[in-house]
């Protein structure tokens, strides 16, 4: 008996036990945590079958994103809305056990009597290793043969995100957005209208940020119109003698009143 079998029974047994825990737990939070452990074990199963990329994606997407979302929803739902545990009708329960047993028998018979095609594909472990690994091999396949499906998948995700946002909007905000004339603006949240300037509703609002103070003008120097550039900067006794008169009369110079001509470089 090789170590593979030992690991398979460890991981598979853990996943089946935690799956039973998902179904049997009374608290939905416990069910969610059982589901996390079950998905981690499924990721281990993926690694056993050489699908390392899928294992990582399983952990990131399922246990990282979906299950955290699920646990948040569990905490957002009012506990009084949840049905009690022992309310399933006995007939329903017996029927489900019967259906499960029948399905297990059918699938077991199908698995035992099947004749599979073993190792006919192009992606043998040596070929995958020659490309550089599972991730590289999957990437080559996705971006060549399955490019259209990949693009459509991004569209599906976008539609799903928009649908989730629309479903989860607060009811009042959704109605207000629906009745707004002409424009649909999702950009400001509830309560942001009080900050807008007065005017007839339905017009284009002008955003004024009143929380930020008005900018202080940065000009602290005085601007002096002069014909001689050294007129206001010359201090008695320290006149810049060798300064070439390059400036024409009428130029604008900005000087500090306390600045002396000897330290000025412009």
């Amino acid at each position: 008996m090789s170590w593979d079998v030992v690991f398979f029974y460890l991981i598979g047994g853990a996943s089946v036990l935690t799956a039973l825990g998902v179904v049997a737990a009374r608290n939905p939070v416990h069910s969610g945590i059982f589901l996390v452990i079950c998905f981690l074990n499924v990721a281990g199963i993926f690694v056993m079958m050489g699908a390392e990329f899928l294992a990582v994606i399983q952990i990131i997407v399922y246990t990282g994103a979906i299950l955290v979302l699920l646990l948040f929803v569990v905490m957002l739902v009012d506990p009084e809305d949840l049905p009690s545990f022992h309310t399933a009708q006995p007939l329903q329960r017996y029927l489900s056990f019967l259906l499960g047993a029948v399905l297990l028998l059918e699938v077991g018979a199908a698995i035992i009597t099947r004749t599979g095609l073993v190792g006919v594909g192009p992606a043998s472990p040596e070929a995958v290793a020659a490309v550089g690994g599972n991730v590289q091999a999957l990437g080559r396949r996705i971006y060549s043969n399955y490019l259209l499906a990949f693009e459509v998948t991004s569209l599906v995700l976008t539609v799903g995100v928009i649908g989730a946002v629309v479903l989860a909007l607060p009811e009042r905000l959704g109605e207000r957005i629906g009745t707004r004339r002409g424009t649909i603006s999702l950009s400001h949240s509830r309560g942001a209208d009080e900050m807008l300037p007065e005017g007839p509703r339905g017009e284009t609002p002008i955003r004024v940020d009143r929380t930020r103070p008005a900018p202080v003008p940065a000009a602290t120097r005085t601007i002096i119109m002069t014909s001689d550039p050294d007129e206001h900067t010359r201090v008695a006794g320290s006149a810049p003698n060798g300064r070439p008169a390059t400036r024409r009369p009428g130029t604008i110079t900005s000087t500090k009143p306390t600045e002396t001509g000897s330290t000025r470089h412009d």
Binding site: L54, L70, P125, N134
Partner: protein, 102 residues
Amino acid sequence: MTEVTVEHFLFLSAALFIIGMMGVLTRRNMLIIFMCIELMVAAVSVSLVAFAWENETLDGQIFVLFALAVAAAEAAVGLGIILALSRRGKSVDVDDLRTLRD
């Protein structure tokens, strides 16, 4: 039984799928039903990857990748529905949600 064969993984997949199915059939909490559906998706993923592993192709893994993306979108929409139901003051008991049937 000294080597892991594809039948091992297929039986594991069947077990996970049937456990999830029984959860969908017996529980009435919509959240638990949702989790059981995710469990069934994972079970099908296991069997797809097992077939790909046996046939030495990568197409099964790519199918799982796309199914995972669709499952993520489905999770977002389904949880949004559960949240909207809970917010409108209705219960998340599936036996109480019979508006379409009546």
